[in-house]
């Protein structure tokens, strides 16, 4: 109990609160800019956290993640340009409502639903994660290897259009994760004579290179061809969300929070699925389903609560097993590792103070999103008007500077540039960058647990029959992948 109180006290320190507030602000601002999104905001913010304490750093990045979620809704509602696929569901009702003279009401609905959905999933995380971690600690290397392979297969099956491309990307990520000194022999692998590569590829450089820089290059390229979207919504005066209206949104908000939490807890199933499932469920149970799609508050509430609920629940597999469920969680793993903390069940024993501090910081981040979001609605509406000619060149420079200061030299910046080329090609070839990053993060864990399993099983594959749970997972992996691919093929045909 003392530990929990100390952790909460640390999370409430001025420096941590400022870090969380700064993160929320960065997240909202970057998320609101068309073309930029929450994972990019996290990738760009990681270098800023190098000088911070682990709690302040992770708190700041959690703030970016939560702020970015709401920021995405700003662009989706005012410009009809979703920064992320899940925000596309918000545009269905958000933009028509904004166009009808009620942009403030649409943004307020998105903000409050987002905060409620996020808080619900954070509560589930806080209650479930410590309990699940106790069970996870009972899993040995064989079981862990089976869980990791199943998770990676799930992610590969569900990301992008093609399973082969998903597995290719995950394998490439895992292959690049082998760069550096081998854990067993201490021999360098793929170092090409560079001593800088002995510690492995710097995750911040790879993440920014693959995620942020190619997106900026694509936006720079688009800027030569297309005109920038401009807000086409003006307030009609009666533009505030009344308490009675918000109370009526209770059902879609809590339904969305439930759907988002359930989906977020499973690796690979992302915010987009949660947002659209919640929207479909609201349409199914609505008394006036014909109003959805024309600017109904229910539609905005359902999608925003669901996609925000995913973010908290995503940390359940991350903290209990060390498995990142999506891109944002994968970037958070990178941040944890940079600050010397290894996510997984042991985190509750080795870094309990940090974990409980993180839980407190997450709650604080929700409060900050509510406060900053409410106070800054008018300002955030202006952000979408900033010319892209200013935004993208500046963000590109920020990526270079961020990697330079975080890695202390130009080597990592050159690496970032190489990975930017790879990321650009991957995006153009429709190869999932998400699978690549998750493969990169999970690669060392999978390799280590497989090596330990082989030694534990005495190099005898039949010995896996002594590990029934692992055996079930190994058998389930191809079956689950096949079912998911078949269902997706049916959906796309339908």
């Amino acid at each position: 109990m003392d530990l929990i109180l100390t952790a909460i006290w640390n999370a409430l320190s001025l420096w941590t609160l400022l870090s969380v507030a700064g993160g929320v602000l960065i997240g909202i601002v970057i998320g609101a800019i068309p073309g930029l999104n929450a994972p990019m905001a996290i990738a760009v913010a990681i270098p800023l956290t190098f000088a911070m304490s682990p709690l302040s750093a992770i708190g700041m990045l959690v703030g970016v993640m939560k702020g970015g979620g709401f920021g995405g809704a700003v662009g989706a509602i005012l410009l009809n340009t979703p920064g992320e696929p899940h925000s596309a569901a918000t545009t269905l009702d958000g933009h028509p409502l904004a166009k009808s003279g009620k942009p403030r009401k649409a943004l307020q609905t998105a903000l409050y639903s987002s905060v409620v959905g996020d808080s619900c999933s954070d509560l589930v995380l806080i209650l479930l994660a410590p309990v699940l971690a106790i069970y996870a600690l009972k899993a040995g290397p064989v079981e862990l290897a089976a869980i990791l392979i199943l998770s990676l297969t799930l992610v590969a099956s569900l990301s992008g259009r093609s399973l082969a491309k998903g597995i290719f990307a995950a394998a490439l990520g895992a292959l690049l994760a082998t760069v550096g000194l081998d854990l067993e022999t201490g021999n360098p692998r793929f170092a090409f004579g560079y001593i800088e590569l002995y510690d492995g590829l710097p995750l911040a450089a790879v993440a920014i290179g693959v995620l942020a820089v190619p997106e900026i290059i694509l936006r720079l390229q688009d800027g030569r061809q297309a005109k920038t979207a401009r807000p086409d919504a003006t307030s009609d005066g009666e533009d505030r969300l009344a308490l009675s209206e918000f109370k009526r949104l209770g059902k879609p908000i809590f339904r969305g929070a439930g759907i988002g939490t359930a989906i977020g807890a499973l690796p690979g199933l992302g915010t987009t699925l949660a947002a659209f499932l919640s929207y479909a469920a609201t349409q199914r149970f609505s008394k006036q389903p014909e109003k959805l799609g024309t600017g109904a508050l229910e539609g905005i509430a359902a999608t925003e609560s669901a996609n925000s609920a995913v973010s908290g629940a995503n940390l359940i597999p991350l903290l209990t097993l060390g498995i990142p469920g999506n891109l944002t969680a994968a970037l958070l793993v990178g941040a944890f590792l940079i600050h010397g903390v290894t996510p997984g069940p042991m985190i509750f024993e080795r870094n309990a103070e940090l974990v409980y501090g993180l839980f407190a910081a997450m709650i604080m981040a929700n409060v900050m999103v509510l406060l900053i979001g409410s106070l800054g609605l008018r300002v955030f509406a202006l952000i979408v008007k900033v010319p892209p000619h200013v935004v993208y060149p500046s963000v590109l420079l920020l990526c270079v500077v961020g990697i330079y200061v975080s890695q202390g030299g130009f080597f990592a910046v050159w690496l970032m540039l190489i990975f930017a080329v790879l990321g650009f090609v991957m995006i153009k070839m429709e190869i999932s960058v998400v699978c690549f990053i998750i493969g990169l993060v999970l690669g060392p864990m999978i390799e280590l647990s497989i090596r330990q399993s082989v030694i534990l099983l005495g190099r005898n594959p039949v010995a896996i029959f002594d590990h029934v749970f692992a055996l079930c997972l190994v058998v389930a992996t191809p079956i689950v992948a096949w079912i998911l691919i078949r269902d997706r093929a049916r959906l796309s045909d339908g």
């Binding site: 491309k165 290719f168 292959l175 082998t178 081998d182 022999t185 130009f410």
Partner: protein, 138 residues
């Protein structure tokens, strides 16, 4: 294939291993990539890619222009401090020119945007990192 027959044998040393050899994971992953690549190649022969998708010459030229701009900026930042004999001057001297180049790559922009990007943005970044975060820039 180059990975399997050339890069892995040259870059991964298996001496001293008592469990699984260090090259096993890279080799296994390389084979997975070869397998997936073959599946994708077969899929492409059956259903050719739709026009307008994938990487085209225009994309490659634009990517090369952007990479060149960033690459020249990095080399200039590394070299400038030495040329003028002042440490940490690379960013201040090169960033304004690099931002003008990035803005030009984005297409036609009003002159005030060039001026803003060349003066205000580097100044803001400089102040934030040097004075705010106390982190030295190149």
């Amino acid at each position: 294939m180059a990975l399997l027959w050339w890069i892995i044998p040259a870059q991964v040393n298996d001496r001293g291993s008592f469990g699984l050899p260090p090259s096993l994971a890279p080799r296994a992953l390389a084979w997975v990539m070869v397998l997936c690549g073959t599946v994708l190649a077969l899929q492409n022969t059956r259903t050719p890619a739709q026009p307008g998708t994938g990487l085209n010459l225009k994309d490659i030229v634009f990517l090369a222009a952007c990479v060149t701009a960033v690459g020249v900026m990095l080399m200039a930042m590394q070299a400038v401090s030495g040329w003028i004999g002042r440490p940490y001057a690379g960013f201040l001297c090169v960033a304004p020119l690099a931002l003008i180049a990035f803005t030009a790559l984005h297409g036609r922009a009003p002159i005030w945007v060039y001026a803003f990007n060349a003066v205000a943005v580097p100044a803001l970044v400089y102040v934030t990192f040097w004075w705010g975060l106390r982190l030295p820039l190149p």
